[in-house]
């Protein structure tokens, strides 16, 4: 159960793994402020000449494209198009992550606001043994800091353990661990959740129906997450288990500890992903070296596969090493089918087929989805859920935290497009979220309440 939050590694592997926002061959995208800095001559020539409006007219570029002669020029143009497509896909990728994050938060907030169970205090986890029912503020603060230290140490130990297991190829152990965690989430926590929802709405359900529903839900979930399944169903299940996990945290973490833990875990995420010896960075690098995807049970992938193909053999060979989309491409003869579903797991089971080297000249792009770790979903939802639970019945705080997290995610994805390597998704969002939570709850809420009581509008 802890594994989900261990892997709060959010963003992508470097671009040569084809899971980043940009495709493998394209040069670094120049930032908005700088001019075009060509890292390759062909690209610079073609684009700069177009930009400065010199003798090269668009017709020449088109000729260059269709003729076989100017291969560097064509490469440059293709890369330019990839650059522009990168930006367009950048915006699309942001939306592809906004939607699941929003859905997860909506599920959590809806549950918190309606089901009383998740806001009642019913004990604490063993990872946060110190109670916060102390008379003095200082003691409470100390207890919450101690709770945080224990929780973060548990997370660090688990993550390091996971990385060691992965490094020494103990795949069976990892799979068993992941399967056990998802079994518990999909069956036990769903059962509790369903029970509480039924209690809230005073709906009676007999045991046979309950067993049927839970069994089907859980079994299909296990299959979708750990084996093959339609992409959207897999995404839906990952969102649901993140929401369930977030609800467990919201219920069992004491108030101040929750906020301190959120702050501490974003710092830990920053270090674990960016430091050279950070466990998450080592996990990502090891996965890249072995050309394997990281376990699908821990990562949400918003895959959107387009078509295949460039006519260059070396490109094709490089791309065929990407196992992720080969299985899907084999089964497809129709090009340009957006949002094609493919489960992540399939490439691990099937051998890597060689990609057919297409010979047509038309440019068809290949699109990789963006990946976000489930731990990020969980902690975003914990923040917004805690805001909904504790902000004195106020919706403004919840909405402010929601906007803050979305903006943090947007900025993180922008940084991803610039740096093109795995980045932590927690720090910026959680920082904004925490700032907005405390300031909205203490400053904005009295202001807006006073304005509303006099029916004043600003």
């Amino acid at each position: 159960m802890i594994t989900f939050m261990n892997n709060s590694d959010s963003e992508e592997e470097p671009c040569n793994e084809r899971t980043s926002l940009m495709s493998a061959e394209s040069p670094p995208v120049p930032s908005y402020q700088d001019g075009l800095q060509a890292s390759q001559a062909g690209e610079a020539q073609a684009h700069r000449k177009r930009r400065t409006g010199s003798s090269r007219s668009p017709n020449n570029i088109a000729d260059g494209e269709t003729s076989d002669s100017g291969v560097p020029v064509r490469e440059g143009i293709l890369e330019n198009e990839e650059e522009e497509l990168t930006l367009k896909y950048g915006a699309k990728h942001v939306i592809m992550l906004f939607v699941p994050v929003t859905l997860c938060m909506i599920v959590v907030v809806a549950t918190i606001k309606s089901v009383r169970f998740y806001t009642e205090k019913n004990g604490q986890l063993i990872y946060t043994p110190f109670t916060e029912d102390t008379p003095s503020v200082g003691q409470r603060l100390l207890n919450s800091v101690l709770n945080t230290i224990i929780m973060i140490s548990v997370i660090v130990v688990m993550t390091v353990f996971l990385v060691l297991l992965y490094k020494y190829r103990c795949y069976k152990f990892i799979h068993g661990w992941l399967i056990l965690s998802s079994l518990m989430l999909l069956f036990l926590f769903t059962y509790i959740y369903l029970g509480e929802v039924l209690k809230t709405y005073n709906v009676a359900m007999d045991y046979p129906t309950l067993i049927l529903v839970i069994w089907n839900f859980g079994a299909v979930g296990m299959i979708c997450i750990h084996w093959k399944g339609p992409l959207q169903l897999q995404q839906a299940y990952l969102i649901m288990i993140s929401a369930l996990m977030a609800l467990v945290f919201i219920k069992y973490l004491p108030e101040w500890s929750a906020w301190v833990i959120l702050g501490a875990i974003s710092i830990y995420d920053l270090m674990a992903v960016l430091c050279p010896k950070g466990p998450l960075r080592m996990l990502v690098e090891t996965a890249q070296e072995r050309n394997e995807p990281i376990f699908p049970a821990l990562i949400y992938s918003s895959a959107m596969i387009w078509t295949v193909g460039m006519a260059k053999p070396d490109t094709a060979a490089r791309r065929s090493s990407q196992q992720a989309w080969d299985a899907a491409e084999d089964g497809r003869e129709n090009h340009r089918s957006p949002s094609h579903a493919d489960s992540q797991m399939s490439e691990r089971r099937s051998p890597v087929p060689t990609r057919p080297i297409t010979s047509f000249e038309e440019l068809e792009e290949e699109e990789r989805g963006v990946k976000l770790g489930l731990g990020d979903f969980i902690f975003y939802s914990v923040l917004v859920g805690k805001a909904a639970a504790t902000a004195s019945g106020d919706w403004n705080t919840t909405l402010a935290c929601f906007v803050a997290i979305l903006i943090g995610l947007c900025l993180t994805l922008l940084l991803l497009a610039v740096f093109k390597k795995a980045l932590p998704a927690l720090p910026i969002s959680i920082t904004f979220g925490l700032i907005f939570y405390f300031s909205t709850d203490n400053l904005v809420r009295p202001f807006m309440d006073t304005l509303a009581s006099h029916q004043l509008y600003i």
Partner: protein
């Protein structure tokens, strides 16, 4: 009755906004990002304004009701000015982003125009401002309760809903006019936008005398709407063209019958 009030007031307050978002913003990723970022800018401005008000209240005498009301007015005025300041800051950011997008793109034009960004940013300010003003009221309107039992107006919910709708639309119009004025450096128009925002906010101080506040606010909304329509390049003719849904023959295009295959001999 409570659910009816909730759904009715939500529909009144956010109907136009939701329709505009679903029809014009939801399909384009860039516009959605501009929408969310605009909400963020508005929130930051509100945060700063609340800080100013909070500090001023802390430093003042709590018992004096007239002083508190004056401070509330002061806080509202500061909030309006800060909102417009952050709208300007957002304009600067979007202008830079527009240039960046144009540089990176293939044909030198950015995928979204500054006018579209003006509209979406105005809409985003409107939505987040409306939501923050009215969502707690809407949430309370579901539950059991009686409106105005202590002598306040019983029309609280519905007038709040109408005011919110006017505010959402006004922000959208102000966004369009503001960005255009900044682009063309017409500082008079800028001042007019700020003044009309201050006027609108000031008129709400006349609540619960709704005839004095709601009427003028809706007149202002209508006039600002017309002004924004003209600023965005609309005219009576373009409106007629749009409404008639006719495909006009473009005079630059030759009709096919005029083209002839050259004689083979």
């Amino acid at each position: 009755m409570a659910a009816a009030v909730f759904f009715g007031c939500t529909g009144i307050a956010f109907g136009p906004a939701i329709a505009l978002v679903l029809l014009t913003v939801a399909k384009e990723p860039l516009r959605v990002i501009v929408l969310v970022a605009g909400a963020f800018f508005w929130l930051v401005s509100l945060l700063l304004a609340s800080l100013v008000w909070f500090v001023s209240v802390r430093l003042s005498d709590r018992g004096d009701a007239a002083l508190q009301r004056a401070l509330l007015g002061f806080g509202a005025a500061v909030s309006v000015l800060l909102q417009e300041l952050f709208r300007f800051a957002y304009f600067k950011l979007l202008k830079k982003a527009d240039e960046g997008l144009a540089t990176i793109s293939e044909d030198g034009r950015s995928p979204i125009s500054l006018r579209q960004m003006a509209y979406v940013s105005g809409l985003s300010f409107g939505i987040i401002s409306g939501v923050f003003s009215v969502i707690n009221i809407l949430a309370d309107s579901i539950g059991p309760g009686t409106v105005g039992i202590h002598g306040d107006s019983p029309y609280y919910f519905i007038t709040s809903a109408f005011l919110t709708m006017a505010l959402v639309l006004l922000h959208t119009f102000w966004g369009v006019i503001f960005f255009d004025a900044c682009e063309k450096r017409r500082y008079g128009c800028l001042g007019l936008v700020v003044a009309s925002h201050l006027l609108t906010s000031g008129l709400t101080f006349l609540n619960p005398r709704y005839a004095a506040s709601l009427g003028p606010i809706f007149i202002i909304t209508l006039c600002t709407g017309l002004w924004a329509f003209v600023t965005a390049g609309g005219s009576f003719r373009s409106l007629l063209k749009c409404l008639s849904c006719k495909q006009e023959d473009d005079s630059r295009v030759m009709t096919y019958s005029a083209l002839r295959v050259p004689c083979e001999d």
